[in-house]
Symmetry: C2
Subunit: 303 residues, 2 copies
């Protein structure tokens, strides 16, 4: 069976011309190389080199082996180096899952700095897990969860990044039916009877507007329309085609054409958090991500 050693020997032999120098290059004795190849020859039943004067010449089989070596040895060497990268925590993969659509916008503002500082980390954003983000974390489908709903769960750790309020974004073009909103600075459930609501296309029990306000009040908006893309949703809101619930920092980005109101008398208050598997924070690049998120988190969001 051809082993890595054999390939390296054949390669060094070809490069240096003599077995003695090849041995020096590999930090081994000439005798060791001779033995090692002899073993392979006996096993394979084919000569790999033959004496040519006081040198050595590769046989056809030896030449073939050299070709294989030139192809594979660098790949093995590269794999060694990569493994070192994993050991040093320089290298790794960071698959990020999200449980709130606007979080994606926030992530995008954070990512450039992270990529810059961690060039060997493969970052991927995994959209739409089959189950919950929690499950995805547990099954190693993702390595990091961005969520507005941190929980205490065995085997997972959550780190709060910053608090925010979920507010209703309403175009100034839109005439609200009565002055309730302006008087109190917030909207009650009944106000939604006259509003067209835009939501992300997920089940209602994952939308805080419903779980916190509308479902308890037993109120159904005048209409609801699912919208996939955040950008499209924002334009629809701007155009006054509907209203939607957004984090306050997201509303702030929309400019003066869009005002916002609290949702319900107390407002809906959340905090953005990062979820990891227990022990994941030992990885340097995980700490780096968390550091970036907490330091620049809110700033990045309102940027």
């Amino acid at each position: 069976m051809i082993k890595r050693d054999h390939l390296e020997i054949v390669l060094a032999l070809h490069q240096s011309g003599t077995l003695t120098r090849a041995a020096a290059a590999l930090n081994l004795s000439q005798s060791a190389l001779s033995h090692s190849m002899r073993r392979l020859e006996q096993q394979a039943g084919v000569a790999l080199w033959e004496p040519d004067g006081r040198r050595i010449r590769l046989t056809q089989a030896g030449q073939y082996l050299r070709n294989v070596a030139e192809r594979l040895v660098p790949q093995l060497a590269d794999a060694d180096r990569t493994l070192e990268g994993y050991a040093a925590g320089r290298r790794g993969s960071l698959r990020i899952g999200m449980e709130c659509h606007p979080c994606y916008e926030w992530l995008l503002t954070l990512l450039p700095a992270f990529l810059e500082e961690n060039p060997e980390i493969e970052v991927d954003v995994v959209q739409g897990h089959r189950f919950s983000g929690i499950e995805a974390l547990k099954t190693h489908e993702i390595d990091l969860l961005i969520t507005p709903d941190p929980l205490v769960i065995d085997g997972l750790e959550f780190e709060a990044v910053f608090p925010y309020e979920l507010r209703l974004a309403v175009s100034t073009k839109l005439k609200l039916p009565d002055d309730h909103a302006h008087q109190n600075g917030y909207l009650s459930a009944v106000d939604f009877l006259d509003l067209d609501l835009l939501t992300y296309p997920v089940s209602r029990d994952r939308l805080d507007l419903f779980t916190e306000l509308l479902i308890p009040a037993g109120v159904e908006p005048r209409s609801t329309r699912p919208v996939e893309a955040t950008e499209v949703m924002l334009e629809l809101v701007r155009a006054g085609r509907g209203v939607t619930a957004l984090p306050d920092w997201m509303v702030a980005r929309l400019g003066e054409e869009v005002q916002s109101f609290g949702i319900g008398p107390g407002g809906i208050h959340k905090r953005l958090a990062l979820g990891f598997r227990a022990g994941a924070l030992e990885l340097p690049y995980m700490r780096a991500f968390l550091g970036l998120a907490t330091q620049n988190g809110r700033a990045a969001a309102t940027d």
Copy 2:
């Protein structure tokens, strides 16, 4: 340092799911795999797998290693098989050199059968060696020499394939200046004083017409013109633009428009031979080539 064993273990582990089954697949004990990977882990300083229930899950570094394994292990396995091919003599390379231009035509008639019977042999024809074919054989630049001039040389073996006569090909369109040729069936050196000679572009001491007849007689043809391509030369001869020396079997292919004459009173008699390095005939495919050449040699030539 990543060794082949490690790659095979990670691969088997991924394919079979448990270490125990992976061990069975590799004909090793579960303990062996555990130890082996543990060594690599300690050396590399990175965990490759971690317990997950009573199973094992690859870490990121382990996944990476699996990727490498899926790429490299099959290549190593293939190299093993190829080496077996060399051992069994099925596989090898046959670089053929030639010392006579028309030999090429003969080789081409022989080659299809050889390729058919030896699918794993890489055949190549090496044209124009820097030195002689003998040198090329000795330096392993070629493995087989086709030559009309077999010699007894230390370290080489020659096997005669078939005898032939070198004759002068002359178009019937061409009026020979006197009737000497027709009276005797051969041409003398002086006859060349009135002939335009076509030759391959090599030095005269490698052209039998010169070494055997013209140089000893001190005769120079009316003109000489070098022609590279055999096909072109044949057409020039057919058109009566000149004459050239060709093996008798080659002339026979030219049809009735071209007649031939012996060269000198005794004629120039050669024998086509194959030259090998000593011991090369131990290789099955070398014997196969020699067998084909001797059995079908002359038949193929006059085909």
